[in-house]
């Protein structure tokens, strides 16, 4: 689209080049398995992401400053997370519980949350997507999954930048954030029909993109 292209050219390439690396994607990964933490950390680092790995939902909330003890805004200023990837089956707080807490937070609900699970259970997937999960990855997670996720998030960040630039140059409101969107029935049906093994298959990605 010509309009989008013009905007993009006028934008400083915030996410692409930054000597300080400050505009790297920062991913918070949550998994109770040490083996899986090592693997996801490496997958993300090799994909040039900044990674913070924690072993439980409770720790994740503590890191974000959402543990309820002190809901300080100081925590948010120093913690900038672009994506949260969490295992579903964890003792105590499950990935689903964590997802709900994040989506309940006015400060963090805009952050995309991806659920990872070794179980291909449709009702579980539906539940997570309905609760606002960005996507659902079947374990073991692969490099290609991380790459596709990263591309998707980066595009979202660019659009966020466009929105901000748009607000600066014009006074009228631009379209709502591309990162949060209600569950799309076409996405669900594409998940149900094809093997759910890779929810980030081209068909589901394009259906998401068309909604952005």
């Amino acid at each position: 689209m010509a309009g989008g292209e013009v905007l993009r050219q006028n934008l400083p390439e915030k996410l692409e080049e930054s000597p300080s690396g400050a505009n790297e994607l920062h991913v918070l990964a949550v998994d109770d398995s040490l083996v899986d933490r090592k693997v996801i950390e490496r997958l993300l680092k090799i994909s040039s992401c900044k990674v913070t790995v924690v072993e439980s939902g409770t720790r994740a909330l503590q890191y974000l400053g959402l543990d309820g003890d002190k809901k300080s805004s100081i925590g948010f200023d120093s913690v900038k997370v672009n994506l949260i990837m969490t295992d579903y089956s964890m003792p105590g707080m499950t990935g689903y519980d964590l997802l709900k807490k994040i989506k309940e937070s006015s400060v963090f609900r805009e952050i995309p949350v991806v659920i990872m699970s070794s179980e291909n259970i449709l009702t579980r997937i539906d539940r997570c997507l309905e609760e606002g999960a960005e996507d659902f990855l079947l374990k073991p997670v692969k490099l290609s999954d991380v790459r596709r996720l990263k591309d998707f998030i980066m595009k979202g960040e660019v659009k966020e930048g466009e929105k901000r630039c748009c607000k600066r140059s014009r006074s009228e409101d631009c379209s709502p954030s591309p990162m949060t969107h209600p569950c799309d029935s076409s996405l669900l049906s594409s998940l149900s029909s094809s093997s759910v093994l890779s929810p980030l298959s081209p068909s589901t990605l394009s259906s998401k993109k068309s909604r952005l």
Binding site: S33, L34, K38, V39, I46, S118, P140, L143
Partner: protein, 157 residues
């Protein structure tokens, strides 16, 4: 001649890998792990696998401990250990171990104690086999790296 040694070891390593793939002991997730290894993380695969060994042995001991209890009934607890073992086995590409875990889980779902015992024995056996083969693989890899390293100074071109 040392260069030839490194090449032969490379061939040995690939032969063993191919064998393990063919036998279904490993699957493509193991290859994925190898892809994550580079100069910045040169021992990634062995590090992850060693963590896996350490964790798995703990879980296997727990499973055996539970099943050996005279008044054993905690299938749920067994299921938790099993899911952990299954998850990490799948994460490193240990296909046969993962499959035995699946069969084991089916036995726990049916509260089938003797089925669980049989599955545990098979699991212990598969795990031992996997551990031996991976150790062999890492040994060849170590020798190959050594041989390749010594090669360069004597190269004559």
């Amino acid at each position: 001649m040392l260069g030839l040694g490194a090449d032969l070891l490379w061939a040995d390593m690939n032969r063993l890998l191919a064998f393990l793939f063919h036998q279904g002991v490993l699957d493509e997730q193991f290859l994925q792990l190898q892809q994550l290894q580079d100069e910045t993380s040169p021992n990634f695969v062995s590090e992850v696998v060693n963590i896996y060994f350490h964790e798995s042995e703990k879980l296997l001991r727990n499973l055996r401990g539970l099943l050996m209890e005279r008044e054993f009934s905690d299938y749920k607890k067994m299921g938790i250990h099993l899911n952990q073992l299954m998850g990490s086995s799948s994460s490193i590409g240990a296909k046969r171990v993962t499959n035995v875990c699946l069969a084991f889980r089916a036995a726990t779902d049916h509260n089938n104690r003797s089925g669980c015992l049989r599955a545990l024995e098979m699991l212990e056996h598969e795990y031992c086999y996997l551990k031996n083969k991976l150790h062999e693989l890492f040994q060849i890899e170590q020798q190959r790296v050594l041989a390749a390293g010594v090669r360069y100074p004597v190269q004559n071109n």
